[in-house]
Assembly symmetry: C2
Homo-oligomer: 399 residues x 2
Amino acid sequence: MPTSNQHKAGDLHFLKRLNRSAILELVRRSPGLTRADIATEAQLTKATVGVCIQSLLEQGWLREGELQKSSGGRPGRALHLNEERHVLFGAEVGVHGLRLVACTLAGHVLASHHEHLVPTTPEVTAELLGELLRRLMSEVRVKDRLCLGLGVALPGPIAPDKPVLRLAPNLGWRDIRFLELLRPHLPQLEGVWLMDNEAKAAAFGEHYFRTGHVPESLIYVSAGTGIGSGMVVGSHPPLLTRGVQGLAGEIGHTILQPGGLYCHCGNRGCAETLVSGWTIRAALSIAEEEDLIATLLPRLEEPEVQVALRRAGEALGVLLLNLHHTQNPAEIVLGGSLTQLGDPLLAPALDFFKSNQSRLLGTTQQVPLRVIQDSTFIAARGAAAQVLASLIHGSNDLI
Amino acid sequence: MPTSNQHKAGDLHFLKRLNRSAILELVRRSPGLTRADIATEAQLTKATVGVCIQSLLEQGWLREGELQKSSGGRPGRALHLNEERHVLFGAEVGVHGLRLVACTLAGHVLASHHEHLVPTTPEVTAELLGELLRRLMSEVRVKDRLCLGLGVALPGPIAPDKPVLRLAPNLGWRDIRFLELLRPHLPQLEGVWLMDNEAKAAAFGEHYFRTGHVPESLIYVSAGTGIGSGMVVGSHPPLLTRGVQGLAGEIGHTILQPGGLYCHCGNRGCAETLVSGWTIRAALSIAEEEDLIATLLPRLEEPEVQVALRRAGEALGVLLLNLHHTQNPAEIVLGGSLTQLGDPLLAPALDFFKSNQSRLLGTTQQVPLRVIQDSTFIAARGAAAQVLASLIHGSNDLI
DNA sequence: AACCATTAGTTTAATATCAATACTAATTCG
DNA sequence: CGAATTAGTATTGATATTAAACTAATGGTT
């Protein structure tokens, strides 16, 4: 959770940290830069960069790589994140189970685990998650690495000022301080602990762990039992918009059909009444005990299924276009379990989005929309990304 | 236009500017603070604050005010913005005319002018605006003050990377570099020149010129011929979300009724087909030559008018609720010419918004929704605010 | 009224950071 | 093999903040 800047004033110590962060961020986003490249990019002198890199190397954040090709001069030494020394943990509590990852500074997954679980109490969930995380910790031999912390993604809005899950309708939870429940089961897990909404964590990870060209902003849409989204604006540090009550991104409850069907939230015509796991279940009479995706995949050719998915897909297309005209992100990433249903659902959505997004400005370049077919560990990995970001950009002195 | 931070590294000069900005911002937001208050708030030492205040006083940005009440010690000296030494200019090019303001550092309007004008070419508009601004400059005796610059608000999306108005459907303009057209007519107007979308400028001004408690984020909804909006996230410096193509906030083209009426953008069921100046005109057969508001105000009791406005108001309510569930701002400000129609339009909108916004989280505190009945100069003043912000937070060395 | 405690603000010396410069190191090209 | 070029390091210097001591101004107490 990148700290939202307060009234920004700073001392020399702050300045040094700022420059360390900026340099680390540069190497993170563009692996293989040399000291000279960094000096140019960050507008610092070679001397300053040199000293800073020195200490980042000594502390194990960076490693030196190969020599770069020279074009008539001393070749520079490439710099990379040192992925051997640290480990980040991420977890997602979902409606259908728990997902856990351990990953490196660059977001590479060292180990992961997926455990099915029917919704139960927060206490039982925390205990199980604790046990699974302990197992994961031994699997990655956490003694060999410095553990930077744990991020937990949860299926509902989080209070913006304190780590409380305000509501998780699909779990039947309300006002849960999940980290406090989890901590007794994981006394040995050091570092930053944080929690966030599942779609926001996913959005953050999709943006933060990208290298090379990074989009100016990004929205992740999570289409599963419900529909959520998260937006990152990449303003160094990347900023997650949470909303004053943590409700930003609750696009499943934007109204697409005034006077339409009743939603479980009590309102009428919410997007979730047109596209969501439970709407598709209702339309096709699929019981809650059955796995929606597993049930549907063999039935995709059935006309009844095709119709239901096309209708849902059309609504999803409207939802995406509305995001485009409300937030206009540089990229949209579509994930969540429903993407596994493929073209019957996605083709209508993508077609609508692509053919209508340039209505206002005429033919400008299209906003890329990327579909993630297997988004199993996206949110867990994103929560781990938030741990790293909070260390790099926060007021912590570890970095 | 606050500069979006690049890869943030900095030297001592940068640090000093940062602290100067932070201190100036503190006084701007909380007039009457003492040096000691500032040292506490900004986490700087008294020495640093003292030196910095000294130079801000000498350069005319601040003035010392009254002594504060003491509670058993030397009383502090209140500090305020010095509103005597500078002037900001702002202008709005609207569908029905030009609006101009000259204002102080605190946003107080020194002089203003409203000129009716039927849509014409950018060149003619620029020439007229130039003349009116010159007149305003002499009116505020600009020789007595340092002119900090001019902001121009325009009714359409602006390219995010360069000062180009991409489209203004209601003026019939496309890809206009308005500032370049204006500059020859105002060679004597010094300082920063910038332009922005009308709703974004308004949003910025409503946030930036507020003192005391400042909302964490704010959306301004401009309901006039079309419907636009702008969002400010107050992350020091306050950040306007523009979107990768400048389309953020184009909520008039979010779809509220899939398969509904055709909008002039070519899509179906856009919000503007349900609530906007031109929709109300169409519903009540009011010709374009007539002033919509002036025509309707005496007719508000007519059943036909009541029905049309109630329908539009209901759609506006849905739009506001969708903003709540997408961006969840800490405050919504509703302005634009349509607010002058009062309760027949606004009551249904506000009722719907207020009674449905706590669906998800249950009874939490309401998000305040403030209606501005007379928003004539809001956008022009907001554009002036952007000039000030770009000086305080930008890389400019004036401050 | 004199004095003390308290808080505001300034001055001075010390410290820390980055910049500038000069330097060494390693490569290509002729 | 040497000149040119670029990478990276070491030394010195400029500058911003800090810490600590100091002056200033007020309220309360004796």
